[in-house]
């Protein structure tokens, strides 16, 4: 079991009106196994609760999950509210099922969410290991950037 996220604090939940719980359950479990401190907000988490928790818990990263096709409706304001709360340095990842039709092209969807201010956006079926290794890398880079 890799302990590479030792010390990292990650807030996680499904956003808005989304009730999909399986993905965030597994992901939370995997992050915890990788050594992270996981603050699990569960389903239907309002944007404001993500932001308030990130600030209160001094999070390194927020993992926003949206599966029900309403990602575009709820994810738009996250980065702005984080900035307003003075927490602009928190990493924002988003995943789940971000499009809302089987016909959508992933690269377009990804571009859309990156433009909203997310640091990374993931297609459905992303394995937790992928997100974990990205987070390890991003945190390491932050650390070296702030040291340098």
């Amino acid at each position: 079991m890799t302990e590479s996220l030792q010390g990292a604090r990650v807030v996680i939940g499904s956003i808005g009106d989304d009730i999909h719980v399986v993905g965030i359950t597994i992901l939370g479990h995997a992050l915890r196994n990788a050594g992270a401190e996981v603050i699990q907000l569960g389903i239907q988490t309002p944007v404001e609760e993500f932001v308030a928790t990130a600030v209160a818990e001094d999070a390194d990263a927020v993992f926003v999950s949206s599966s029900n096709g309403h990602a575009a409706i709820f994810c738009d304001g996250v980065r702005g509210l984080m900035a307003a709360a003075g927490a602009d340095d928190v990493l924002l990842y988003v995943g789940g099922n971000l499009a809302n039709t089987a016909a959508a092209d992933w690269s377009e969807v990804e571009a859309r969410f990156l433009a909203m201010g997310f640091d990374r956006a993931y297609p459905s079926r992303t394995q937790p290991a992928q997100a974990i290794s990205d987070l390890v890398a991003d945190l390491a880079q932050r650390r070296s950037a702030s040291n340098g």
Binding site: D17, V21, V22, I26, I43, G69, H70
Partner: protein
Amino acid sequence: MADNVTNERLTDDAFHAQRETIFREQLGRAPYDLDEALAFSLENAKRGTVAAVLQKAKATGVAAVVPRAGVASWEGQRALMQMLDEAGAAYLPITIDSLTRELQFAEAERRLASSTTEVSALNGYPIVAHGIEANRRLIQSFDKPVIVRANAVDLRITAETGLASGGTAFVSGPMYATLEYSKNTPLSEGISKWQYIFRLMGIYSEAGVPMADDAVGFSQSGTCSVPALMHVGVILDALIMASQGVKHIMLYSMLQGNIAQDVASCLAVEQLATEYLHKLGLDDVSTYVASSDWNGAFPERRPDAYGLIAANVFAAAIARAPLNYVKTIDEGIGVPTAESNADSIRVTRYLMNLIGRQAHAWRTPEIEFELHLNLIQARAILDAIIDLGDGDPVVGSIKGIGTGILDIPFSPNIHVKGNVLPIRDASGAVRFLDHGALPIPAEALEMERERLSHRSADPSALGYQDVVDDLQFLELDTFDPATGTEVKA
């Protein structure tokens, strides 16, 4: 109110008082004219009802196949339903978007405005935003009856709107809506809000429009689950519905890939419903087993999805379920195209027909084994709940959530203990890895333990990671391209 919820029928006064309140609070207006709605509905029902379709399916043995589908715009929804009609849906679905379900009517209206026939900004049809008049035009443009599909804790306005618009069936109940779909709501609150809807359906029924409702129970958790436990939720939902006057109930049975267990699940839920409705003196209710295609993570590739749907249809056909809710071959990817909806109905109908002819040959000892196991588990839990409520299943359920004799796996609801974990055995049948405080009889535990021993010599060595792995069991991607064979897990 939520504190002393029981299974008693809502009085007319209580119903109408509540009606005034919700319309005022949620829509800022007076309630719809109920007499007008009943009169319209009665006229409209002459063209056919979901209950009549199901009665015929049960009588003829030719299953009704029904998809789920909803998009934002009226034209888009019309086109979608027309395509499903032509593809052979036995009745037509209008699935409601989740903003409407969460009472965000204004936001749903805004998103509707930004949707086009081609592009839907919502994951369903915002039935309140469209309004009764437009909904009626939609429903009356089809010969087949319509089911309004939604799930959430508080669907009172949605149900009022759907029924007044000409829908003759609705979906869900408090067990599903509260324990599988809500984070904070206590069960008592969910039950009381749903009792309103069931009473409303009762009123329509008494006026001559036989309303039907899907009792979903714990059958759509999105993960695998022991069938008996899913049935407990279905039966509790059904008892609550029937007590408020619903006369036609579709009993969900989610299919999970092990065919013997799936067949038994369909047979068991019908038997249990008959038993427990009778126990509570609710004998004048018609029930219809609704086999429902696997509701968890679907394979991404279409041929695999076809395979999974085929396995589900086998079970449904052998069990002779009168109703099948079909998933689509695009389920693992995103909201299905019209074409894949039609294809999914067709493959289902083809196999229902082919396998239906030979169903009698497949009532195997394995099915009897699963059926017995299923029944003794479900009865033990249901009896304990009803006892806990001194004969009242509502009181018993609410107490049971607290003590954990009512408990489910992977619930997003904070009031649920969540000590139960499901696991697949070597054949893919679902067993308890941990049954928490559920009062499972020793005989059943022994039967399950024996089956699990074929997966692992030491069943107690199976753990949470195996549960997690099992969530993706039906994606079954074990192909080794080099040898061209599946690598057995």
